[in-house]
């Protein structure tokens, strides 16, 4: 820290009576305890935070007023012990400890759990992010972060760039994320082949008319090859010995499972049962099947037959090897799924678009994500669920994120300051 030599050392901080400026850790822990008590009291009295209060434009005003108040406090209130305290490291550590404590609870208690014990729910422990203690903790955190940032920002010096990228970046991310959360809109659009859909539903079940419409042309799911595995005949549970070496089924492939040597003669990615065998077809309901031989490596016993994991249209089939062991085909896992749809926007020409996992489509402030499909039908699903999300504060948060990315790189290249033994003084201003 700059100007560290002018500050009281840890020794006389400890001897000083509490609440006599400058405040340090003792005052800090009192403030943190006070905030926790007030937070939990508010939580017990009034339940969680009222939702939607910070909707546009209240959130913008709140963010501006909060930042302005910190600036005024920094410029004109340095003689006030609280404001002086907020800009120094003891306050930083106390607010970090408070946030750590609350997030640790969040990390240990299942969130949004309807079945949580009543006292857990009443204290807001299972809905931490919308609880009063969490909000108060964040306000303290933002205040210390903001005050520390202002100390290095006014007047601006180039050597503080790294510090500012990290601290101002984090301030912008946390404040932008907190304020923007009320403006995030997440809605689901359930598309069916050939149907024009312009309404969407939110999580509470409210239906909205969207400023865009989608018509599903085709839902497409590509699959990985299924695997061969040994299972217990009765329970169909995978046998532990074969977990490590499930092997991928393909035509003309050999492998070992337990004591059995398996040979796949023919693999049909899309097939249907015809009598006792399976034939390749492309119809709705087709599923994978394979013709296999299994030879016991010890006794030389031989088993031969078809295995399939089945589909919604026909049942699975095992090849029995021993009394309680059988060879099975696992259900293939998805490799990719995507929706091809026509997008209609007001005043725009209809456009064919592709929405895929990890490749959302952006239009008029909305981002369209491939959310899910009807998994009862797997690759033959004719329904596709698209999630439409609007987050107007995203540019603010991303500004902060990119500042922090720059700050992180700076941190790594710059290295740590050296501490001179016995004096505690630092040779360079740190990040």
């Amino acid at each position: 820290m700059s100007g560290m030599a002018n500050q009281p050392t840890s020794e006389n901080l400890r001897r000083k009576p509490i609440w006599i400026p400058p405040w340090g850790y003792a005052e800090g822990w009192m403030i943190v305890s006070g905030l926790l008590m007030v937070g939990f009291a508010l939580q017990l009295a009034g339940g969680g935070l009222p939702s939607g209060v910070l909707a546009w434009p209240v959130n913008l005003y709140t963010a501006l007023i909060f930042s302005a108040l910190l600036t005024i406090a920094h410029l004109f209130g340095r003689s006030v012990p609280l404001f002086a305290w907020l800009g120094r490291v003891p306050a930083t550590i106390c607010s970090i400890a408070l946030i750590t404590f609350l997030v640790l609870i969040m990390g240990l208690v299942l969130q949004d759990d309807e079945a949580a014990a009543p006292w857990v729910r009443r204290l807001g422990l299972s809905s931490m992010t919308s609880s009063w203690p969490f909000l108060l903790g964040l306000i303290l955190f933002l205040s210390t972060l903001g005050m520390a940032t202002l100390k290095r920002m006014i007047p601006f010096r180039w050597r503080n760039t790294g510090f500012l990228l990290n601290h101002l970046g984090l301030y912008i991310v946390v404040l932008g994320g907190l304020m923007g959360s009320a403006d995030v809109e997440r809605r689901l659009m359930e598309l069916r082949e050939g149907e024009l859909v312009w309404h969407a539903t939110d999580r509470a079940g409210h239906v909205y008319e969207m400023p865009l419409a989608l018509e599903l042309i085709r839902f497409e799911r590509k699959e990985h090859h299924p695997k061969a595995a040994l299972v217990e005949t009765g329970s169909h549970r995978l046998l532990s010995e074969s977990k490590a070496d499930l092997f991928e089924i393909d035509s003309d492939i050999r492998g070992h499972l337990g004591d059995w040597e398996i040979e796949v003669h023919r693999f049909l990615p899309l097939s249907m049962p015809v009598g006792d065998r399976y034939e390749p077809v492309l119809d709705v309901g087709a599923g994978p099947s394979a013709r296999v031989t299994a030879v016991h490596t010890g006794t030389g016993e031989k088993r031969e037959g078809w295995i399939t994991c089945g589909s919604f249209a026909f049942p699975h089939r095992l090849l029995e090897l021993e009394e309680d062991t059988a060879l099975a085909m696992t259900v293939p896992r998805p490799r990719a799924y995507r929706s091809q749809a026509v997008l209609y926007t007001p005043g725009g020409t209809p456009e064919t678009i592709l929405i895929e996992v990890n490749k959302p489509y952006r239009v008029n402030g909305w981002t369209l994500y491939q959310h899910s499909y009807d998994d009862r039908f797997g690759r033959w699903s004719r329904t596709s669920i698209i999630e439409a999300i609007r987050d107007p504060w995203l540019p603010v948060v991303y500004t902060g994120i990119f500042m922090m990315l720059g700050g992180a790189v700076y941190l790594m290249f710059r290295g740590r300051k050296l501490i001179i033994p016995n004096t505690g003084e630092t040779t360079r201003a740190s990040v």
């Binding site: 550590i93 990390g107 994320g177 695997k227 492998g255 990890n358 994120i401 790189v409 941190l411 630092t426």
Partner: protein
């Protein structure tokens, strides 16, 4: 199935380190013996790098999906960082600890080889997958080295100056931790629609990040309180381990989207 057995390759790397460390201990100033030790130490790292490259080639996807695969990366990075710390600051003991810790993690892999199928679910098929995980594993390995300094310092009553190594490691590790966290946020936006959802893995990643943040600030303000710093540093690594492995077993993570694929 793989055309080679990863276990044998892993054992080869571990043997390289074992022989190398034995040579270091027995060298007594003999330069040829020492040089052989160095060659073998680096060879162990290169063998693992070769294994990862071969797995990547064979599976057609980055070997970063299962816990077992992440342990392989860790087993490569940790001795690499140990060697770098030795080269930069001359701490010979770091070579021993880094190799020992890598051996423990690779040993777990010999007992639980939870790889290596080609499947990669759609959510992981993204350009962010490799940078997000590799940056994190590198950070974990650097921070493990700092934890080694911390535990050693607690046992041997370290003095202020000895923490300079830990500080440097934390500075680098924290930088990578931040990159991993932010890459994850940017990827999360593309894959799930939001940059931060307080998924249990995110919650613990945040905890890890903020405890190292506390360590750095505490070092700036109370450089003389060495033991407190060492305790924070040790605690931070415990939280890091919970984030990496423990989350899979926590009841609070029942619905996590981040649990490693277990076939």
């Amino acid at each position: 199935m793989l055309p080679f057995d990863p276990a044998n390759v892993t054992i080869a790397a571990m043997l390289c380190w074992l022989v190398s460390l034995t040579l270091f201990a027995a060298a007594r100033g003999n330069r040829t013996v020492k040089a052989t030790g160095h060659v073998l130490y680096v060879a162990g790292i290169l063998i693992l790098a070769g294994l990862l490259t071969a797995l990547w080639q064979f599976m057609g996807r980055a070997p970063l999906r299962t816990l077992g695969e992440t342990r392989l990366w860790y087993g490569m990075f940790l001795p690499l960082i140990g060697y770098a710390v030795y080269a930069r600051w001359g701490y010979r003991w770091m070579l021993y600890y880094a190799a020992l810790m890598a051996t423990v993690f690779l040993g777990v892999n010999l007992r639980h080889p939870e790889y290596y199928d080609r499947d990669l679910v759609p959510a992981l098929q993204s350009p962010w997958f490799v940078p997000h995980v590799v940056v994190y594993l590198f950070a974990y390995a650097v921070l493990a080295a700092s934890a080694i300094v911390a535990v050693r310092g607690l046992i041997r009553r370290a003095r202020t100056t000895e923490l300079n190594v830990a500080d440097n490691l934390v500075q680098i590790g924290f930088g990578f931790l931040t990159l991993g966290l932010l890459f994850g946020a940017l990827w999360g936006k593309e894959a799930w629609g939001h940059y931060w959802t307080w998924d249990p893995k995110e919650t613990w990643a945040f905890l890890t990040w903020i405890v190292y943040l506390a360590y750095m600030h505490h070092r700036i303000q109370r450089p003389q309180q060495v033991r407190v710093s060492l305790w924070i540093l040790s605690l931070a690594f415990v939280i890091l381990l919970v984030c990496w492995f423990g989350v899979n077993y926590l009841p609070s993570a029942a619905d996590s989207v981040h649990t490693y694929g277990r076939s």
